[in-house]
Every structure is written in C-alpha cells, then in structure tokens.
C-alpha cells in the first residue's frame, strides 16, 4: 500500500493540499483512505475534507486519533488489512516531527508499506517561523522526501528560502504551489515527480 504522509507546521495548508490531492486521486479512479490527526478536542479538518464533495466513508466508528506514532502505525496496518485503498493519506498534526515518525515507520512498519513523506511549508510565514521556531521547523522538514511550499500567492518563493528548506530536508526537492488556486491534477503531479 502506498502511504503519503503529510507533515508541516500548524496552518501551513496541509488539509487544503490533501483535499486537492484526494480529488486528483479519485478523478483517476483510485481509492484513497485518509487518517486525520488533529490537535484539539473537536476535529475541524475532517469536516473540511468531507465538505469538498468527496464521498467519505468513516472508518472505525468515524475517528482514528493518533497522537502517538505507535497508534498511527496500528491504524495504518489495520487500514491495509481491512480497507485495501490504493493510497493511504495521513495528515499529521501541525506539531508532529517528521523525522521521528519516519523513523517509526522504518523500524516497525511492514515491508508492504511504500512510504513517501511530504512536508508542507507556509511561504507567507517562512522567514518569521524559521527565526522564532527553528528547532521545530527543522525537525518537521528532516526526513521529508518532498517539500511543498504553499501560499506562494501571498508571498512569492525566493530561491534562498527554497535552498534552505531543501537543505533542512536533506537535499529533497522543493516545489511551489498555491493550494487554494491550483490546476486539477497538479498536486498529484508534483508528488509523482518524486515517487515514480
């Protein structure tokens, strides 16, 4: 099973990017399952996914809460066994550290999982976030196979920033986008540049 794991700082646009991706996948006739991880007593992101016109079938009574990577891995294995989607999309919380989660998948995940990690970065806040929250941002980019630089309609991406992001992601490529205003298929195309 292909697993697309999305991370990135709070408010970077992960849910918007994922919504676009899910539309891309379903337009191609693929089945996709999604695991939403969200901080807070009441979920908002899952409602946003369900409101985009996709047919959403809740699993496990409607909620998979994965604050810990061990819980997440159990959920992923269960979905592989019981649902068999073409693609499993996992949205991590905006406080999750990509490097740690990737490490958990590498150590304890099944060999049948084809994991691709994608970090979403908010270009509009990048310069200030990297100054104020560098330790967090650094670990959210470490271990990413691809960096999607979002909100470039608000602040255009500059080469120096992209180079820094790529460096923090261990040399992985950066691709710019505006998740709210994209051509159909473009998110999937960006991801497939790296995964195929």
């Amino acid at each position: 099973m292909e697993v697309l794991l999305f991370g990135g700082f709070l408010g970077s646009g992960k849910t918007t990017v994922i919504n676009a991706l899910l539309h891309n996948l379903t337009a191609l006739g693929k089945t996709a399952a999604i695991v939403e991880n969200e901080i807070g007593a009441v979920g908002i992101d899952d409602v946003l996914v369900a409101q985009t016109g996709l047919k959403v079938t809740p699993l496990f009574g409607g909620c998979v809460c994965c604050q810990l990577t061990a819980d997440l891995l159990t959920a992923v294995h269960t979905i592989e066994d019981q649902v068999h989607p073409d693609v499993l999309v996992v949205e991590m919380t905006g406080l999750a550290m990509m490097d740690g989660i990737r490490d958990t998948f590498a150590r304890y995940g099944r060999d049948t999982l084809r994991l691709h990690t994608i970090a979403v970065v908010d270009m509009a806040r990048w310069a200030k976030l990297i100054r104020a929250m560098e330790p967090v941002v650094r670990r959210q980019l470490a271990g990413a196979d691809l960096v999607l630089v979002n909100k470039t309609d608000v602040v255009p991406a500059d080469p120096e920033a992209l180079e820094r992001m790529s460096q923090l992601a261990g040399g992985s490529p950066c691709r710019t986008l505006s998740a709210r205003d994209m051509a159909p298929g473009s998110v999937l195309a960006l991801i497939r540049e790296v995964t195929e």
Binding site: G11, I44, L129, A132, M133, R139
Partner: protein, 147 residues
C-alpha cells in the same frame, strides 16, 4: 498536549514571546527532551464548541470572524501566529471554516450551500493552537468572544 505539567525553557535565537521561562520544571521526565519537543510541549491548545437551536448564519459568521480577529491580535508575534487559529461554523448542513495564521488575514472556506437561510440549528467550534503568548488566551477569553 496530554501533559500534566507545564514545561519552561529558554527560547533559542533570542526570541521573546513575553511569557515566563524562568523556573525549572520539576516533573522529572523531560530532561532528555530536545528544544523542539520543549517548544511543542509548551503549546497552548484550546478547543471549545458552542451550539444553539435557531441562529442566523450571517450573524454567527460575523461573530466567528470578529472573535478570531481579536484572538489574532492577542497572539500575533511580528505579524504572524506562531500556531493556528481555526473556527468552524455549522448551520444546518452548511458550514463555514475560518483559518488564521497571520494577524491581518483570514482564510474563509464556505461549503457550496453556504449561507443557508436562517434561523437554523448551529454549532461553532474554535480551536486555538499557539506556541507563543500562551498566557493571554484562556477558556474564559473564548467564552467572552464566541459564547
């Protein structure tokens, strides 16, 4: 964040977000934590839902937006939110989401059937996530703005 204790620390890079980092945590288990983990464990996480039987969608939407604007001004650091403010208003089957990551902007995402005709049953959920100025917003603040 699932922790019973608060963690206090010094920010790297001379960042001053205005809250107290001076006293040591005595919880006894965090000493191996990285700077990133300490920052995350200090995060403010507040989430609350209000509901009613007969609300006017446009009026509730204004309340959501104005409340988030106030929160944005309280929590902003150098013009941005070091976190995420989110609101979801559901009126009948329609909904309106509002996301704030910068003090001067709100991203609105309405469902295709927004705004519905009122009055209608409604729920309003607001989530505040902030790694800065944590002491400035409490449940009481949210009740005052959205309750």
């Amino acid at each position: 964040m699932g922790h019973e204790h608060e963690h206090h620390h010094e920010h790297a890079h001379g960042h001053d977000c205005g809250h107290d980092h001076s006293h040591d945590c005595a919880c006894g288990h965090h000493h191996g934590h990285s700077e990133a983990e300490r920052l995350v464990e200090d995060a403010l996480v507040l989430s609350k839902t209000w509901s009613g039987e007969a609300g006017q969608p446009e009026q509730l939407a204004r309340k959501l937006q104005s409340g988030l604007e106030v929160l944005g001004k309280l929590l902003e650091e150098d013009g941005i939110i070091l976190g995420h403010l989110k609101g979801l208003l559901r009126c009948g089957t329609a909904c309106l989401a509002c996301s704030v990551t910068r003090a001067d902007a709100q991203d609105l995402t309405p469902s295709p059937d927004w705004p519905p005709a009122g009055p209608c049953p409604w729920t309003l959920t607001v989530t505040v996530l902030s790694l800065c100025h944590q002491e400035l917003v409490t449940e009481k603040t949210l009740d005052k703005l959205f309750g």
